[in-house]
Amino acid sequence: MRRLGAVDELAATYDLAIVGAGPAGLSAAVTAGQFGLSVLLVDEKTAPGGQIYHGIAASPLKRGSILGPDYWSGAALVEGFAAADVDYLAGAMVWQLDQDRHLYIGADGKSRRIAAQAVILATGAQERPFPIEGWTRPGVMGVGAAQMLLKSSGLIAEGRVVLVGAGPLLWLFAAQMIAAGSPPSAILSTAATPSLGRLIPLLPSFLASAYARKGLSLVQRVRRASRLVSSVTDLRIETGESGLKIAYRAGGQAERIFEAEHVLLHQGVVPNLNLIRSAGCTIAWDDAQACWHPIADDWGASSVEGIAVAGDGAGIQGAETAARRGRLAALDAACRLGRIDGAARDRAGAEDIAAIGKDAKARRLLDVLYRPTAAFRMGSPKALVCRCEEVTGERIRQVVRETKAVGPNQLKTYLRCGMGPCQGRFCALTVNEIIAEERGISPGKIEPMRVRPPIKPITVAEFAALDL
């Protein structure tokens, strides 16, 4: 791997450009490098690993028990990448990708346009919006955010820390907090309890998988060491005299209140689609995961010629599958660029494709268990759905009813939700579901919010200085 210091050091063209240095991007780069393709990997972070292996090359934590073996398993991927014959530009952002596979890349205040014959978008996932009243208050952050602090800085929230929500990451982080000697004060679980009839058919695949082996013992450990409140609804976070106050109901009973310095929210993760959408890739609504994902074949090929998707950005399926999808997308790129024939590609990819299929079956139970309830997906009326422009759920509903707005793009005109710097990353899903509910149709029937370039802000000067 050659680490580039600035956009000036980029070649004008590459056979393959990969965006994102998580498991999918890294394994794609390693695979593509083996076929002699000229490869560029661009990533926003300053070191490889993505969110899941964030900080792995330089984590201040010794290889040990706190983060667990799954985290450290990423080290092999990063080491493989270090040895690969690829260009790597860290701390850089691809702020626009067009259908001709021109990538506009910015770093340290300077942008350049380069071209690639093939592109793999491995843009990963973000935590799902969790729009409850008070989720914008300082001291409230995502569970994944708190985990990032642990991974790269060895920081752990102290004092009264309450974890709220549902999903595998919430359990994993609770276990990491316990291992670090700072167990959470309480876990408020919002997971619904699906009927046995729905779960039983999914159990065999799940029980035969590593998810069951690892997950069940993890949950056991956490339950022994911390207080768990189940069936939590009607959440609200206020500022109290000494920190935050979390009001909630459990099992439909009267409202109760917890006081805490930190409230860590989690409601699962969803694909990070802004660059994928900006490139024009078609997306589809995934009702099981209640989010959009790009339409792609087994090899990750999207609806746009020469642009593939891999990893959780292509649909949430975890780190192992992400690495497999990265390999498959790179094999397909090598095939399209004439380095291997179709038969060789199919042979090389068969094992990964089979493993991904098996994994997907095993995960169905997780999707059912941790699918956020409608109330949490759409949020409470007084919650700020759009954090940037400060638009509440009830205001959105009121204007949708008044104007019969058909979709989020018209609503943007009326209310500005989605027009702030986050470009809809924290409101688009919620707005979509609210409109769908008001119209009585599936969220998949509504046009998703458009993504406008640049996908993250860059200065007028940087735009003006583009040498095109």
Partner: protein
């Protein structure tokens, strides 16, 4: 024949919404038909200017209409705001077009003079402002700016909120806003029109086609012709910054929310509304020459819209001779003309004749085409 509405207005953008809002005032039963979420929608990509200074260059009736609408805007805004509670952010401090060279400034001077000299055009209050005076008004102007053309009637508003207010006001006046209703066919009957779309049929006494470029397809259904071309306009908006620019420019303005909008390229690229980076880069370059302090501002979004251009660039208002009661309304200045559309034009349509708007019929285009 059953009659659901006295008037059906097709197209709920700024043009259609203003006309419908005006029509609904006098107790008429009016419906306003809108398309789905991903329509072309010039109203989402306009520059929110109430702009007079060189409109109607070469066609005095347009200069007069523009001046009239800009003069009505203040009372129009008050009426809409009082009725809907929506702040339109309307300001009319006068507007500028900066010149970056003596040649550009000379060009501006000539156009101002020519517009003002046209017969019947009222005093527009426009003039050339030289650099020294300009700097005293707008100290942030860049060193290359040699001067500007200025018109006291120029202003701007918050156009997304204008659209919300018109839709809300229309509803409050008893109008029916029907969304997701792409019109498929219009049939003229003996005493009205049958409008079919999305599996629903509506009967209306009159029909107003205000569907922007959609009028190309709809007009022939009622014996009219809408010879329109899309003209792409590219826009940039920056992050919100503290107020520094208190006057609108023809291609740059600070919104009441703080963002700086930068426009507005002229590209003839058909119906493609994708944003094109090289074009945006050139706009960014020019913006920094106009206001060097913008260099450090972050761009949060760029997007494109399609202006609705008639062959000569002037509005088209016409009643069908073949199917009286069907009206065609097209222009590319839905904000500037909103006051006139909600007032004079809505009244004329309500009356059933376009007296006073004769200069804007398609006749002039047919004459031009024949020559």
């Amino acid at each position: 024949m059953r009659r659901d509405y006295d008037v059906a207005v097709v197209g709920a953008g700024l043009v259609g919404a203003a006309i419908a809002y005006g029509l609904a005032k006098d107790g008429r039963r009016v419906c306003l038909l809108d398309e789905g979420d991903i329509a072309l929608r010039a109203s989402r990509a306009n520059f929110a200017l109430v702009w007079v200074q060189t409109k109607g260059h070469g066609y005095p009736p347009y200069a007069i209409l523009t001046h009239r609408s800009a003069s009505l805007w203040s009372s129009f805004a008050q009426e809409v705001e009082a009725e809907t509670g929506v702040d339109l952010g309307f300001q009319q401090p006068g507007g500028f077009t900066f010149a970056l060279s003596e040649e550009e400034l000379e060009g501006r001077r000539r156009i101002l003079d020519e517009v003002q000299a046209q017969p019947g055009v009222p005093d527009l209050g426009s003039r050339i402002v030289l650099r020294n005076e300009l700097i005293s008004l707008i100290p942030e102007a860049g060193p290359e700016v040699v001067g500007a053309s200025y018109c006291a009637k120029d202003g701007h508003c918050n156009s997304p909120r204008l659209l919300l207010a018109l839709h809300r006001g229309f509803g409050m006046r008893g109008g029916d806003l029907l969304t997701n209703r792409t019109v498929e066919t219009i049939t003229a009957g003996r005493d009205g029109f049958s409008i079919l779309g999305e599996g629903e049929e509506i009967q209306a006494g009159k029909i107003v086609l205000a569907a922007g470029l959609g009028n190309i397809r709809l007009a022939p259904m009622v014996g009219l012709d809408a010879p329109l071309q899309p003209l792409k306009g590219q826009l940039i908006v920056t992050e919100k910054v503290r107020p520094f620019l208190h006057y609108p420019l023809v291609n740059l303005r600070q919104t009441d929310e703080g963002g700086v909008m930068i426009g507005s390229s002229m590209e003839d690229m058909g119906f493609d509304t994708s944003s094109v980076v090289p074009v945006v880069a050139n706009m960014a370059k020019r913006a920094i020459r106009l206001f060097p302090l913008l260099a450090e501002a972050n761009i949060v979004r760029s997007w494109a819209g399609l202006r609705i251009m008639t062959p000569d660039g002037f509005p088209l208002y016409e009643q069908s001779q073949e199917a009286p009661g069907a009206f065609l309304c097209n222009c590319h200045s839905g904000v500037t003309l909103a006051a006139a559309h909600a007032g004079d034009l809505a009244q004329a349509i309500g009356r059933g004749n376009l007296d006073g708007f004769g200069a804007f019929s398609g006749e002039r285009l047919r004459v031009q085409a024949a020559q």
